[in-house]
């Protein structure tokens, strides 16, 4: 059963959180789930909730949460910067360790949530900030932010063309705009600098992890793509890659059977 509630972000925003209590008592590290953003969050909501339920059934305390300005959380998406998401993750981690009594958590993130989880673990590695990451599971993480921003831009253009039939105008997603304006991205108000924040991400050069990590490539292919290979090589010897042939469920309106992904995570997580 989910226990729903709110935790508080450093700026005072209430962050929606759902705690899945472990079905059996277990000393195993709890799992903090980091969701993706925008439409991907909506499309992946059911899959991540189901995964949380299976992890809890396997004895893991699990916490899901929404970043400020996202989902059921308070705060404004128009004011959100990438650094705020890291702060929100830290607040959720603190809540999970408090509830579970554990000192370390497994960070599990999808898409930009996976990117955030990896960055968080890397920060711990460099001793710059928080430690306490037992392991990371990154599902289809975005490793090069500029590629993601380009895809957002294209997607924005596609949406505009489909809705107006035109194809005119500058796609709303682009850096360098008036710092005081907000941008409409798929119906979400976004701070223009947020796209610059994301474009600056490059996990290929971020350094090696000091905790175990599983990166799951989710795509039409069963062999590693160049991007995945580069990422895992950059993350160092503690990182491992699994390739899963599965539709990108975070892009689909229809239900996709994510059972095979859950099986990979459930198989891996006892080692963490």
């Amino acid at each position: 059963m989910d226990q729903l509630g709110y935790i508080t972000a450093p700026d005072g925003s209430p962050l929606y959180a759902a705690y899945h209590a472990p079905v059996q008592g277990s000393p195993a590290s709890p799992v903090l789930i980091c969701a993706p953003l925008f439409e991907e969050r909506k499309s992946a909501y059911g899959a991540l909730r189901k995964l949380a339920g299976r992890l809890a059934a396997a004895g893991r305390p699990v916490l899901r949460f929404d970043y400020r300005g996202s989902g059921e959380s308070g705060g404004s998406s128009a004011a959100r910067r990438w650094s705020h998401m890291a702060e929100d993750l830290a607040a959720a981690r603190e809540a999970l360790t408090r509830i579970s009594g554990a000192r370390e958590v497994v960070l599990l993130g999808l898409r930009l949530g996976g990117t955030l989880a990896l960055q968080e673990a890397l920060r711990g590695t460099a001793g710059q900030a928080r430690s306490g990451t037992a392991a990371v599971i990154a599902l289809a993480p975005v490793s090069v932010g500029s590629h993601q921003v380009r895809q957002w831009k294209m997607r924005s253009q596609i949406r505009a063309e489909l809705t107006t039939g035109g194809g005119t105008g500058v796609p709303p997603v682009a850096g360098g705009q008036d710092a005081h304006a907000t941008l409409d991205f798929d119906g979400y108000d976004v701070h223009p600098a947020f796209f610059d924040d994301v474009a600056a991400i490059d996990l290929h050069t971020a350094g090696a992890l000091s905790c175990p990590a599983l990166v799951v490539q989710i795509s039409h292919r069963t062999e590693p793509a160049g991007d995945s290979t580069k990422l895992v090589a950059a993350l160092g010897p503690q990182a491992r890659l699994e390739c899963l042939r599965l539709e990108p469920f975070w892009e689909k309106l229809d239900d996709v059977d994510t059972g095979p992904l859950e099986d990979i995570v459930l198989k891996q997580v006892p080692g963490f």
């Binding site: 380009r150 895809q151 294209m154 596609i158 063309e161 489909l162 194809g167 039409h220």
Partner: protein, 85 residues
């Protein structure tokens, strides 16, 4: 005989979009959105596929749905960018 660009595109589309169809089921002039229920984000996957399979890079202002609505139209983009394809 070299494979037609259109046929390579169909194989790429079926594989990357994981369509439940055979490449030969797709007609050159089929509207991919209407007939094959290709969603907007999947058109982006086709653009990425062009980059990976054909080595074609599209500029940010070169994309339009019209160019990606049918295999014939996508093939025209390929031939324009890579005449020897």
């Amino acid at each position: 005989m070299p494979e037609r660009v259109e046929d390579r595109l169909k194989a790429m589309i079926v594989e990357r979009l994981m369509l439940k169809a055979k490449p030969e089921d797709i007609g050159d002039e089929d509207d991919l959105i209407k007939k094959w229920n290709v969603e907007s984000v999947q058109l982006m996957e086709i653009v990425i596929g062009l980059e990976e399979v054909f080595g074609i890079q599209l500029g940010d202002d070169e994309f339009s749905i019209k160019k990606f609505r049918t295999v014939t139209n996508i093939a025209a983009v390929v031939r324009e960018k890579k005449p020897d394809a």
